[in-house]
């Protein structure tokens, strides 16, 4: 903590132009004793110290940095970062310099940095990350995913009806997704939190999505969450970070192409299949309208995929949230007039996220109503 400096609370003297820097130094109380030898350093040496610092850090932390680079969305930035970090990471690995960080990670209870693409392998780096960093156990990986199912019959026969929740036998709801999913989770906690007939497990994680499996492997995380919480209902709200290209083997799926849609739909289907196979119903909450028309169009495209996939699975319902945050004419609105006339803010200033508390609760109430309708329960 910053303790060395004296309190600058003496009355401010009338400033003059000359010598202000000296006065500031005096006010900060920065030099009370005679400076130690080596205290003042020439700029060239500062640069040298800085380079040595970053050099050492790079050498010791290269594997972790390389992993982050691999997990970044495809593009020039990722390519350059990987090209620079790969040889350093390989050297770091060969000299076992990465052991320090791995030790630290283990001590903190985290998995060490994985080596996507296999750093030790000879030959050029892979054009794309092979499936995801194994930071979590019990995963169903995208690479080993079974082929997409043939269209199942639209039937609820496979799932027993949900019992009306009671305090003795509460409804177990798992909520997953990205930062918008976090907003929904907060809203659900507000709306359902005090209800003894419900147990809510909010597990959404910001900055995640289904597109970049190397960065965050949702199918694996969902498998873990399903095994841990045994939910009867899974609420999913994800997609805000997904309008991006991703790698499939050695091929890049560019957003907006048929290939991208097919690949992304498979990932959505994997999530739905996992949850329903574990005996849970799924409420898939669509992306809301966004302030940016271009971003809105991207989200509408994702919503189309979610809705289509939801129709293919028994026990999965899609909830459109588009109109909740739009004016009657269909334009984006950050505000909403309540029944009592109060004007409340329902979206964050970034034009993307849902504003607490009014926006989050609005979204949560819609989700609760949809669950009641779809799964024939009363909350």
């Amino acid at each position: 903590m910053r303790q060395a400096l004296a309190r600058p609370n003496r009355p401010r003297r009338r400033p003059a132009l000359a010598g202000a820097a000296d006065r500031l130094a005096e006010r900060d109380g920065v030099r009370r004793r005679a400076p130690a030898r080596g205290r003042y350093v020439p700029a060239g040496k500062v640069l040298g110290v800085g380079l040595a610092c970053f050099g050492l850090w790079l050498a010791l932390d290269a594997r972790q940095l390389y992993t982050s680079a691999v997990a970044a969305p495809p593009g020039a930035r990722r390519t350059v970062a990987m090209a620079i970090l790969r040889p350093i990471a390989r050297l770091s690995e060969a000299l076992s310099l990465d052991r320090l960080v791995n030790l630290g990670n283990r001590a903190l209870g985290r998995a060490g940095a994985p080596t996507p693409g296999g750093l030790s392998a000879a030959g050029p780096p892979p054009a794309a990350p092979s499936p995801p960093p194994t930071t979590l156990p019990g995963r169903a990986r995208t690479g080993s995913r079974p082929p997409a199912p043939t269209r199942p019959k639209r039937s609820r026969a496979g799932l027993p009806p949900l019992a009306q929740p009671t305090p003795a036998s509460p409804l177990r709801i798992l909520e997953v997704g990205d930062s918008l999913g976090e907003d929904l989770g907060d809203g659900l906690a507000d709306v359902l939190g005090g209800d003894p007939r419900v147990r809510l497990f909010p597990e959404a994680v910001g900055s995640t999505g289904l597109a970049n499996a190397a960065y965050y492997d949702w199918p694996a995380v969902l498998a873990r969450d399903l095994a841990r919480y045994h939910p009867q209902v899974v609420v999913v709200m994800i997609g805000g970070n997904d309008a991006q290209a991703f790698a499939v083997g050695d091929r890049i799926a560019t957003f907006g192409t048929a290939f991208w849609r097919a690949q992304y739909a498979q990932r959505v289907a994997t999530m739905m299949r996992e949850a329903t196979a574990a005996g849970a119903r799924v409420l898939w909450v669509g992306m809301p309208i966004m302030r940016s028309p271009a971003f809105s169009a991207d989200m509408a495209e994702l919503n189309g995929i979610y809705a289509a996939e939801a129709r293919r699975f028994a026990g999965v319902r899609f909830l459109s949230t588009w109109k909740l945050f739009a004016t009657p004419s269909g334009a984006y609105s950050a505000y909403r007039t309540e029944a009592n006339g109060d004007v409340v803010v329902v979206r964050d200033p970034d034009g993307v996220h849902i504003a607490p508390p009014a926006g989050e609760e609005l979204l949560a109430h819609a989700a609760v109503a949809a669950m009641e309708r779809a799964f024939r329960i009363r909350l």
Binding site: L5, D28, V30, V41, V46, A52, G341
Partner: protein, 479 residues
């Protein structure tokens, strides 16, 4: 551009080299630093660069016009025009939505059901409150004849200088302009590396490790949900945790800013001084966001009359200053209440001190026990204020406060030893002897260049290993 990112490290490396290589060439140096600062700011959104340029133009032209006016009335007119323009920009971006929705709701309650005021949600450009306040201080200082107007390029660099641009410290014209003017005289052989490194790496540790951990372990899980979901112990720990989080976040930022400026050969004023050791609210504001409290004192409290009038006028001035200080942080009633709490608290403190002085006693009780009690009590009031500062709405804030009295006995799964230890440890650090940091810097100064680099590299490794992946923006960016 966020400080704790690779992007900034590369940017700063280039800025550092250019800064020292171009030092002898006055104009080239200023143009380079200005360009670097605009790149730094435009990294968020290039459109905001125009706002920064407009604010700079307003500041420079306003000061020139004030200075060149022939009469006092003319000086005053130009000052008012500049204040209106600058505060208008700030108001539009920061307060439009708040004002229009509040007025609309009030009209509805009064039974007026006309057309709603057009609602626009304006994106808040980062740092606008900071550079607007810097510009205002410069123009007012010129009006008060404490400063001569500087050349346009100097003013442009003063307003946009990237280390202080987005979250302060709020550096006065009288502090920075002379340094910019004499930038060619900075000595490139005398950079205080130990102090700069201490500030930068200490700031990074506070921000990336402590603030992030406390936020994710207790503060966000409590404050992002309904008060009824948490026990009194959880709410209490979350309030203390937020005190630690916001201190580490904001002071971490300003430490990095001051350290970066030092490496470039500039001195910024100090912004924090162990604020949680304060023994009164008045003392707290001498230690917390010092540059803002001095700004409010010099440009708001004293012009309002300060402590020159009756005692009642003094209390009124304190309250107005603190409420406006609260509103400076954001357009929300929670900030208004936070400011009001500090205003009333300071007025009460002032009243008690005046009463003791009138009885011939020292303004505050002395002695170890009294000091401990004063510190403890001040910290509790400050944390009560932080609940309002952090909560999403006034209703939620009162809900959390009520929970402190009603929620005992409920289970507290979020109260765990590591998070309690982190909070207690971070608070205890404020009580470390003042010269400990100085001694650490001197020990570091005695190391050779390679050893210095190795030490810093290892510290960086500790920070990146302990910190979470990804960096959350600094809390004060949105103010």
């Amino acid at each position: 551009m966020l400080f704790p990112t690779i992007d900034f490290a590369i940017f700063f490396g280039i800025a550092f080299v250019g800064n020292w290589l171009l030092r002898p060439y006055r104009r080239a140096w200023k143009l380079f630093i200005l360009a670097a600062s605009y790149v730094f700011y435009g990294w968020w959104d290039w459109r905001f660069v125009f706002l920064l340029a407009a604010s700079t133009l307003c500041t420079a032209a306003g000061a020139r016009l004030v200075h060149g006016a022939a009469t006092e009335a003319g000086r005053r007119r130009f000052l008012v025009a500049t204040l209106v323009a600058e505060l208008g920009l700030l108001g539009w971006f920061k307060y439009y939505g708040f004002a229009s929705s509040s007025i609309d709701s009030a009209l509805h309650r009064l039974g007026v059901h006309g057309d709603p005021i057009p609602l626009l949600q304006v994106t808040l450009p980062v740092g606008i409150s900071f550079f607007t306040f810097m510009g205002l201080s410069y123009v007012i200082d010129v009006y008060r004849r404490r400063l001569e107007p500087s050349a346009f390029l100097d003013v442009a660099v003063y307003v946009a200088f990237f280390p202080h641009l987005v979250a302060g410290p709020i550096v006065r014209g009288s502090e920075l302009l002379p340094q910019i003017h004499a930038a060619h005289r900075r000595d490139p052989r005398r950079i205080d590396l130990p102090q700069a490194a201490y500030l930068i790496f200490g700031g990074l540790f506070k921000k990336v490790v402590i603030s992030s951990y406390v936020a994710s372990a207790i503060v966000d899980p409590v404050f992002n949900t309904s008060p009824t979901l948490h026990s009194a112990a959880e709410v209490l720990l979350a309030a203390y945790g937020y005190a630690v989080q916001i201190y580490c976040d904001f002071s971490g930022y300003t430490d990095i800013a001051i350290g970066c400026a030092l490496l470039l050969g500039f001195r910024f004023p100090q912004n924090f001084d162990a604020p949680y050791t304060a023994r009164s609210l008045q003392d707290f504001w001498r230690r917390w966001h010092i540059t803002l409290s001095l700004w409010l004192r010099d440009y708001l409290y004293i012009p309002l009359g300060g402590n020159r009038g009756s005692r009642l006028a003094l209390y009124r001035n304190l309250l107005i200053t603190m409420v406006l200080g609260g509103l400076w942080h954001g357009a929300a009633w929670t900030f208004v209440l936070w400011g009001a709490l500090h205003g009333v608290g300071q007025a009460v403190g002032h009243f008690r001190r005046a009463r003791r002085t009138a009885r011939g006693l020292s303004p505050q009780r002395e002695g170890t026990l009294a000091l401990a009690w004063q510190r403890l009590a001040t910290f509790q009031v400050v944390c009560l204020g932080w609940i309002f500062f952090r909560a999403d709405s006034i209703g939620a804030a009162f809900g959390f406060v009520a929970r402190l009295f009603t929620g005992w006995g409920a289970p507290s799964p979020l109260v765990r030893l590591p998070v309690v230890a982190a909070i207690v440890g971070a608070l205890a650090l404020q009580y470390l002897p003042r010269d400990l940091a100085e001694r650490a810097q001197e020990a570091f100064a005695r190391l050779g260049a390679l050893a210095k680099g190795a030490v810093l590299g290892l510290v960086l490794l500790v920070i990146t290993t302990l910190g979470p992946p990804g960096v959350a923006p600094f809390i004060y960016y949105r103010f």
